[in-house]
């Protein structure tokens, strides 16, 4: 079946042409053309969805020259839940993150957030993010992304992951250190998160870095 592959950096996204036929277009949009610009007015988007913008080859310029082929690009709407920020994860990955797309990172954060909810038995939308949950999600997402990067490199090169192979691009000692570090942190915060959930309720502060509020007088 015919498909289109959208690829950038480590992100690869394949969509079948049958999924993007004109009859699959979302309702309630208007399209306006002015000069070199086309503006598509949208209704409110849905969470956790990818929106594909499709331009058919029927579109022509004033000289009658049309697009050489179907053009499409996608963006992702708001992800939910997200228990840490994109910067948190990118900060852990350092230079490795330069080939990542936001969609890939957000995918990993959302999936790690869902896993955190599952592991702790939370079934409602959190209004507060306990510190261990945020930390677990950050390291889990970073570890997942790093695994994807290594896997893709191995698949592309058709050989096993060796330090020598990666010396040029990814500085292997750093990569190994990074992988081990993320794994260690992820495991630690996983057990902290589960221990807190077993204790029944977590009183850590939202976005904070404290285990409990400390009155001003105790700071001295």
């Amino acid at each position: 079946m015919d498909s289109i592959v959208l690829e950038r950096g480590f992100e690869r996204f394949e969509v079948f042409l049958s999924e993007i036929a004109p009859e699959k277009a979302i309702p309630g949009i208007t399209v306006q053309s002015e000069g070199t610009r086309v503006t598509i007015t949208l209704p409110t988007l849905e969470e956790n969805a990818r929106y594909l913008v499709v331009v058919m080859p029927d579109v022509k310029d004033l000289a009658g020259v049309s697009l050489s082929a179907l053009w499409c690009a996608y963006f992702a709407s708001r992800y939910s839940p997200l228990y840490c920020s994109l910067q948190d994860v990118v900060g852990e990955l350092g230079s490795v993150s330069s080939e990542l797309t936001p969609g890939l990172v957000y995918d990993a954060i959302r999936d790690a957030s869902r896993l955190a909810d599952y592991l702790t038995g939370v079934t409602v939308t959190r209004t507060e993010i306990p510190f261990p949950v945020g930390e677990f999600v950050k390291y889990r997402a970073a570890y997942t992304i790093l695994s994807q990067i290594i896997t893709k490199r191995v698949l592309e090169r058709g050989e096993s992951y060796t330090l020598g192979d990666l010396r040029v691009d990814l500085r292997p000692p750093r990569l190994k250190e990074l992988t081990d570090g993320l794994r260690g942190q992820m495991d630690y915060w996983r057990s902290e998160m589960l221990a807190a959930a077993r204790r029944g309720g977590v009183n850590w502060t939202v976005r904070g870095y404290f285990t409990s509020p400390v009155p001003a007088s105790r700071q001295l």
């Binding site: 959208l6 950038r8 969509v15 004109p22 699959k24 277009a25 979302i26 949009i29 399209v31 053309s33 070199t36 610009r37 086309v38 503006t39 598509i40 007015t41 949208l42 988007l45 849905e46 969470e47 969805a49 990818r50 929106y51 594909l52 913008v53 499709v54 331009v55 029927d58 579109v59 022509k60 310029d61 004033l62 020259v65 049309s66 697009l67 050489s68 690009a73 996608y74 963006f75 992702a76 709407s77 708001r78 992800y79 994109l86 910067q87 330069s98 990542l100 797309t101 936001p102 969609g103 939202v206 904070g208 870095y209 404290f210 509020p213 400390v214 009155p215 001003a216 700071q219 001295l220």
Partner: protein, 272 residues
């Protein structure tokens, strides 16, 4: 702790307070009169922990009360830490007795009231752009917009604009967007960009990469084909607001309006 040592009795905002008004000063009250000479920007500091930058502002001491008044509203929805230095190099009372330990106060600011912070739309987070590129943001009012591109998240290494480099802000027809194009191409590398209306809070910084694309050789007599040259939101962008309202496609040539319709240009929703 020595009983006669100075210490903080209470503060406003309270320790670990949330939804703190970004426009309000931070105040701490001491149990004793302080030596005003020891209360200064060197001993009382406010840090924006979320954006990892120190906050510039004025330190005022009046009647056992130390006030940190930021030069401009604090970054909204960000974790902040006030540090009052203790020890021999820190704050002392009028008898010369030092605070036994450094005092820290942490709080989280809420959304700005009365002022809206611009949002950088392009480059998108983690986007790779050409050395000459457009910075686009949501305009929050008429006025002068300050734009900074830096090689670090703290914006201590601003690479554009440098001293003496001017730029022209272009507004969309309805005034909802504004943009600038740095006149000087940037070197390949990883950068951060932020925007603010003069005197207001900075937008959240957006990280992006500048890279040099290797252009294929094109024969001179080949007619440049019609193509889409830009899209907002950017392709591959993530976590786009549900109320984005519109998508803008930019082509390399003027279009025949008759060829553009909801049959030829449309949007499909795919599972996330």
């Amino acid at each position: 702790m020595p009983l006669n040592a100075p210490y903080v009795m209470f503060s406003e905002p309270k320790m670990l307070a949330e939804d703190v008004d970004p426009a309000k000063p931070v105040v701490v009250w001491f149990n004793r009169d302080l030596d005003p000479g020891t209360v200064s920007a060197a001993t009382v500091r406010l840090l924006d922990l979320t954006n990892r930058v120190p906050v510039s502002g004025e330190v005022i001491y009046t009647g056992r009360q130390v006030t940190f008044r930021p030069d401009r509203p604090l970054a909204p929805e960000s974790r902040h830490q006030l540090v009052v230095l203790g020890g021999e190099s820190g704050v002392k009372d009028i008898l010369g007795t030092a605070m036994a330990q450094t005092f820290t106060l942490e709080f989280v600011t809420g959304a700005l009231t009365g002022a809206v912070v611009p949002v950088v739309i392009s480059p998108a987070e983690q986007e790779a752009v050409a050395p000459t590129f457009t910075i686009l943001w949501t305009a929050v009012g008429e006025g002068f917009y300050e734009v900074q591109v830096a090689s670090d998240l703290d914006f201590t290494k601003v690479v554009w604009p440098l001293d003496g480099e001017g730029y022209t802000t272009v507004f969309s027809e309805d005034g909802s967007f504004a943009s600038v194009v740095p006149a000087r191409p940037l070197e390949p590398g990883y950068y951060f960009v932020r925007v603010r209306m003069s005197g207001e809070a900075w937008s959240r910084p957006v990280g992006f990469a500048v890279y040099v694309r290797e252009e294929p050789l094109v024969a001179e007599n080949v007619v440049d084909e019609l193509k889409v040259v830009n899209m907002l939101p950017s392709p591959f962008s993530g976590n786009v607001s549900l109320d984005i309202g519109k998508i803008v496609l930019e082509f390399n040539r003027e279009l025949d309006p008759q060829s553009v319709s909801s049959k030829s240009v449309y949007v499909v929703k795919l599972p996330g």
